[in-house]
């Protein structure tokens, strides 16, 4: 008699993900007003200042939001009043998460966004955006780290991404 011993199967612990797709709003051909969404992380305001100065004579609306938590509904509503919103800064886990998710909230309200992440956290930001159905969220990378640097060093890093911002916006 031949006896066979078979190990029982084990079940997969990984949770399934239901795929969804949220459409990104196209960038405006031209725009008058830009919301600068500052999550108060060190360097965020400097980066936004440098980027906004590169956009010429336009109107800028500053909105401050918490870093590791969602923007309030009022903050989102305020930021969505402009033709375009630029969000900064995702340079850690929780702040990167909420830059992504707040950008998606703005996109859902019809406001096109550009979000700034340090290059270390940009891959996570893309994965998170994908998980939330917006894999093509516009992400602009800046060299990590930002926190712990002097203002001059942050400015220098911000200047390096100005050309990428202008390219995304198709501004010659």
């Amino acid at each position: 008699m031949r006896v066979k011993l078979t190990e029982k199967d084990v079940l997969n612990p990984v949770g399934e993900v239901k795929k969804k797709k949220i459409n990104l709003n196209p960038l405006p051909y031209d725009f008058d007003q830009v919301s600068l969404v500052d999550n108060t992380k060190p360097g965020a305001s400097i980066i936004l200042k440098v980027l906004s100065e590169s956009l010429g004579n336009r109107e800028f609306l500053c909105v401050k939001k918490p870093a590791g938590a969602p923007a309030t509904d009022q903050q989102i509503m305020k930021a969505s009043a402009s033709d375009l919103a630029i969000l900064a800064l995702g340079d850690c886990g929780s702040c990167a998460s909420w830059v992504v998710l707040d950008a998606i909230r703005l996109e859902r309200r019809g406001t096109p966004t550009i979000s700034i992440f340090s290059d270390h956290f940009a891959p996570f930001a893309r994965q998170l955006a994908e998980s939330h159905g917006m894999g093509d969220l516009r992400i602009l990378e800046i060299e990590h780290p930002i926190a712990g640097l002097g203002n001059d060093e942050v400015e220098e890093k911000a200047f390096k991404i100005v050309s990428n911002l202008l390219y995304i916006l198709q501004i010659p």
Partner: protein, 383 residues
């Protein structure tokens, strides 16, 4: 009769009957399978198949390599084991209890059970783990931030009510340490769910710079029997006879050693000095502070005539640090939090989440929270 050393079976049958084995029918001869051993049945690889439990070492290593574990051995989640857990829930196995960020994984009853099996839980713990999952998924808990942050915040689970004794939780001596099956495995099960369902894998969806030992398991019960005040769930509006689960985003606990104080004020001042430090999240974004007070400390304070509210109010009012220190944390200080050149680490007395737990000894443990980025959640456990 079959020839010697050549068993003949009917290939249309299972091959296991005596008639098939013994009957040498002519129409079978052209298809006679031949085997050269002592098998009873020629149409199967074996005459008898036994299903055995997988080797825990092998499964642990395989799951570890797939990044499904915390690095410690696990119990292999076989269908039988998982089904035993599912017998303890009123949910169907496919019911989605919550969608967990950052990966937005679906936490079904079955997935929760699989992870609870792996963690070494007993089947009766399944409803507790399910309720923890529901609690952490509430918006105000901000699981997105808690999971993904570089901050070493863990999720502390506090159990209240009759369930403490029913499942044998430790609320007394060593309740935050090793040695109790429920405390150890329920907290571990939550961590597995966060990694495998939510995607909070270190370096992937969990970006904690150092991580934390509290991310292995951080679960205990309140010592209601030696608590001179209302326990946490009663303070939050539940009946003492209800069982609840509370989840709070908290750092690893830090000790407050005070063997000398004989008055409430003196003792609380020691706690306050330990809690009020530059560099904790609360210092620049005030939020919850978990205070796990030993029964002896609680008794000293209570005998001095202080209520729980008095304690919370005193800690809130006096736990503040100079703005120049608070400002080192990182985020720009919110002007409204600066009062006379100081920043409080809590927003209100309610942010002082005070529980009594532990055994004999004059120690209290404190855990700073995730600043204002997360609010603790208490929900009743319904079976």
């Amino acid at each position: 009769m079959a020839k010697k050393d050549e068993k003949i079976v009917n290939e249309n049958s299972c091959g296991c009957t005596i008639d098939d084995l013994m009957d040498d029918k002519p129409n079978n001869r052209s298809k006679k399978p031949k085997i050269n051993d002592d098998s009873l049945c020629a149409t199967r690889d074996s005459d008898m198949e036994f299903f055995v439990d997988p080797d825990p070492e092998k499964v642990s290593l395989k799951f570890y390599q797939n990044r499904f574990t915390d690095g410690l051995p696990i119990i292999p989640p076989t269908r039988e084991r998982v089904n035993r857990f599912l017998n303890y829930t009123h949910h169907d196995s496919g019911d989605v209890l919550a969608i967990l960020p950052p990966k937005m994984g679906q936490a079904t009853s079955e997935k929760v059970a699989i992870n609870a099996v792996m963690a070494g839980c007993l089947p009766s713990f399944q409803p507790v783990v399910e309720h923890m999952i529901k609690a952490v998924s509430e918006d105000k808990f901000n699981l997105t931030g808690v999971n993904a942050t570089t901050h070493p915040v863990s999720i502390c689970t506090i159990i209240n009510g009759p369930l403490i004794d029913e499942i044998g939780m430790n609320a007394t001596v060593g309740c935050l340490g090793p040695g109790n099956l429920a405390n150890a495995t329920i907290g571990r099960a939550l961590r597995f769910c966060l990694a495998n369902i939510a995607g909070a894998i270190p370096g992937v969806g969990d970006h904690a710079t150092h991580g934390s030992p509290a991310k292995y398991s951080y679960c205990f019960a309140e010592n209601e029997k030696e608590n001179p005040w209302d326990s946490l769930h009663v303070e939050r509006g539940f009946n003492p006879q209800e069982s609840t689960v509370t989840v709070i985003a908290a750092e690893s606990p830090h000790n407050v050693n005070d063997h000398r104080s004989q008055s409430a004020e003196d003792l609380l001042d020691t706690i306050i000095h330990t809690a009020t430090t530059a560099g904790c999240n609360n210092s620049h974004v005030p939020g919850e502070l978990l205070v796990i007070m030993s029964p002896e400390h609680a008794e000293t304070i209570q005998q001095d005539g202080w209520s729980k509210k008095d304690v919370q109010k005193y800690i809130h009012k006096n736990s503040s640090l100079l703005t120049v220190l608070a400002d080192r944390g990182g985020r720009v200080l919110d002007e409204k939090n600066i009062i006379k050149g100081k920043v409080r680490i809590t927003r209100s007395p309610k942010d002082v989440v005070l529980v009594v737990a532990g055994g004999p000894g004059r120690h209290t443990m404190i855990s700073h929270g995730f600043g204002g980025g997360s609010e603790s959640v208490t929900i009743p456990i319904t079976l």
